[in-house]
């Protein structure tokens, strides 16, 4: 029982995190591509409740930043002015869930832009870019995992159910894919695809590559389950009554692979998000105007950014809860899959 509740807790955490990313338009104060060329590499603004005169304010506020005297990239807080945070403000137009055009944002400030995670070289808001980037990265992971499992379970089902030469052929092929270190495989597949692509193409390209890279392991797992499932008595009985192969697979055998597949989702999604990040970080994935978690970090490849603008690293830290959620769910599901280990 404890295990089940833990699973639903992890699922709730993940749902909440994904909701934030899916509703990025609402939670992000600005459009991710909107530039503010006058304030490049602004450090994160701190949220204050107590001002410089030690007065308490119920409404949180930030101090606008201004260039430090004599410096060209050093900012300091301008304590002369308050920038109170307003909630549910009207701002840039966006499509909620890609359908409803609205302008409401969770927070913002009047007249001036607030940068809670700082800004990048074009003065784009890093928080907004992180949230929108999550849409790209997480959906690349989710769709990639979906592709992989679809491919893997069909291959596994065919190999496991029909056996014989089909099994031999498919499993030898799977071994080939497993013989490569996955990042090399990812690179190799990416190398043989067009380099200059627009963001949408890049996104689908990545999903296709992820699907092609990952199918072998789930295929082997599904094959194992199918092989044992097809010998179970009720399946044999159904076959005795004249059920066709397709019907047996659909109705009796594949449902038995579901728990394996769920566990695989929890394991694969974070791996694929990482893969997308790696590709985009290296400039092989989603290109710049569209944010993704990978290309958000790619500015850190420049020495000057690394030295002077540490907040460009913050996205790497705030994505950790997503990985935590998937890791927690994955290990719980694995325990569930091996009931004799529960309670250890």
């Amino acid at each position: 029982m404890r295990g089940r509740r833990a699973i639903s807790n992890w699922v709730l955490l993940l749902l909440a995190l994904h909701a934030i990313v899916i509703l990025a338009g609402f939670f992000a104060p600005y459009d991710p591509a909107e530039q503010d060329r006058k304030s490049p590499y602004l450090p994160p603004m701190q949220i204050h409740f107590v001002d410089a005169q030690r007065h308490f304010h119920a409404r949180p506020f930030v101090y606008p930043l201004r260039l430090r005297e004599g410096a060209f990239d050093q900012y300091e807080e301008n304590t002369a002015r308050h920038l109170p945070l307003r909630f549910f403000v009207q701002g840039a137009r966006y499509q909620l869930l890609g359908l409803v055009p609205i302008r409401m944002h969770l927070f913002g400030a009047e007249n001036e832009r607030v940068y809670l995670l700082g800004s990048d070289s074009y003065g784009r808001d890093q928080l907004s870019r992180f949230l929108y980037g999550g849409q790209v990265s997480l959906f690349a992971g989710l769709l990639g995992a979906g592709m992989t499992l679809l491919l893997g379970s069909s291959v596994g089902a065919i190999a496991g159910y029909y056996g014989g030469w089909r099994d031999d052929l498919l499993m030898r092929l799977a071994e080939l894919f497993l013989a490569l270190p996955w990042l090399y495989l990812l690179f190799a597949l990416r190398a043989f695809l067009p380099l200059a692509v627009n963001p949408l193409q890049a996104f689908f390209l990545i999903i296709a590559v992820l699907g092609a890279v990952g199918w072998a392991r789930p295929a082997r797992l599904v094959r194992g389950v199918v092989m044992s499932a097809k010998e179970r008595d009720f399946v044999r009985a159904a076959r005795g009554f004249g059920a066709t192969g397709g019907y047996l697979l659909r109705r009796h055998i594949l449902p038995q692979t579901l728990s394996v597949l769920f566990t695989q989702v929890a394991i694969l999604v974070p791996q694929f998000v990482l893969a997308e990040m790696t590709l985009s970080f290296l400039g092989l994935g989603v290109p710049d105007p569209v944010p993704s978690w990978g290309n958000l970090l790619s500015s850190l490849q420049q020495y000057s950014v690394l030295v002077s603008y540490w907040w460009m690293y913050l996205p790497a830290l705030i994505m950790v809860p997503f990985f935590l959620g998937y890791l927690g769910l994955g290990s719980r599901l694995q325990e569930q899959g091996e009931p004799y280990k529960i309670g250890k």
Binding site: F192, L195, M277
Partner: protein, 323 residues
């Protein structure tokens, strides 16, 4: 003996399969190195056509594959368009650097994971064990990329470590000891990033494998016979737990090679990673194929080693093959 042969044939088969696969993908690939050349008005179309003929880009695939296999057997591994040189010498220097990193990381991570995992399994459920499992979980949720970048920021901010490369500019002028020190300093951060990225997984597996054996009936029986705990652990439990760990050893090679690719690019370590990336961006196909094949070779070689170890460690396999 037949066991070894079978594993060896299997390994060779895998390598050939991967190379065929890589070649098939090259046909499907849109664009190649010479298409980029066409954009350059200073290169005459005749020159490009001549180059295309020289490098047999227009020939059918089976012939190109056959020629490439011949070139592998001669020790060239094809020709790099961008470097205008055989691939093998270029690749081997980088591969050596990659291996330096991965082998060190491998030794360190296993050297740490074994004692820590065993200790954790023996002290199962105690406070220290629980703290440790929290620690490994925390390390696991930090993405490799974030870990490597974090180390880089540490290097920049603290100034204790060099921020990239493999040796300093004045490396040639240093004494032998100075060179070793310089190399070690440069290796420290990439190795640390690699070790930390595989360590949590290894510790968890070691702990799981050992704790499973510790609960096994035969160990309880041995304990009942009054065998001291130390002997029990080293002579009875560990050999029995070796089997899954040796398989994990093979698996960890792949993880380390992949991790190394990323860490090398981030920390500008002159290994296969940056080289391969550059080749992908320049469409230097034979370099890409060579790099991928070499990494497969390392992985397959590592797994072969794991198989040999398994044969030595697990008597069940020996009896299975002799019968």
């Amino acid at each position: 003996m037949r066991y070894f042969l079978r594993r060896l044939v299997h390994a060779v088969f895998l390598l050939v399969g991967v190379s065929v696969l890589a070649f098939v993908f090259t046909v499907l690939a849109p664009g190649n190195y010479f298409d980029e050349m066409r954009l350059n008005p200073q290169i005459a179309p005749e020159t490009i056509d001549a180059l295309r003929t020289q490098y047999e880009v227009n020939r059918p695939l089976p012939i190109r594959y056959a020629h490439w296999v011949g070139s592998v057997l001669r020790g060239d591994m094809g020709f790099s368009f961008a470097y205008n040189s055989p691939v093998a010498p270029l690749l081997l220097v980088r591969a050596r650097n990659t291996l330096l990193l991965t082998v060190t990381a491998m030794l360190l991570s296993w050297g740490l994971a074994l004692p820590v995992g065993i200790w954790s399994a023996v002290h199962q459920g105690r406070m220290s064990d629980r703290l440790l499992s929290w620690g490994t979980a925390a390390l696991m949720v930090i993405p490799d990329l974030a870990l490597a970048l974090g180390f880089l920021i540490l290097a920049v901010k603290s100034g204790w470590f060099p921020t990239g490369g493999m040796v300093s500019l004045h490396f040639e002028d240093l004494s032998f000891l100075g060179r070793v020190r310089d190399l070690l300093l440069h290796m420290a951060l990439p190795t640390a990033a690699l070790v930390l990225s595989v360590l949590p997984l290894l510790v968890r597996h070691v702990r799981a494998a050992v704790s499973e054996v510790l609960d096994a009936p035969f160990l309880l029986a041995a304990e009942g016979h009054g065998i001291p705990p130390r002997t029990l652990l080293y002579r009875y439990a560990l050999p029995a737990a070796a089997n899954p760990l040796i398989s994990l050893f093979g698996f960890s090679i792949g993880t380390l090679l992949s991790g190394s690719l990323l860490v090398e690019v981030v920390m500008s370590w002159p290994g296969l990673g940056p080289f391969l990336l550059e080749a992908i961006l320049a469409r230097d196909l034979y370099v890409v194929i060579g790099g991928v094949l070499l990494s497969t070779f390392f992985l397959v070689g590592g797994n072969f080693l794991a198989d040999l170890l398994l044969y030595w460690a697990d008597p069940r396999i020996r009896t299975e093959t002799s019968s």
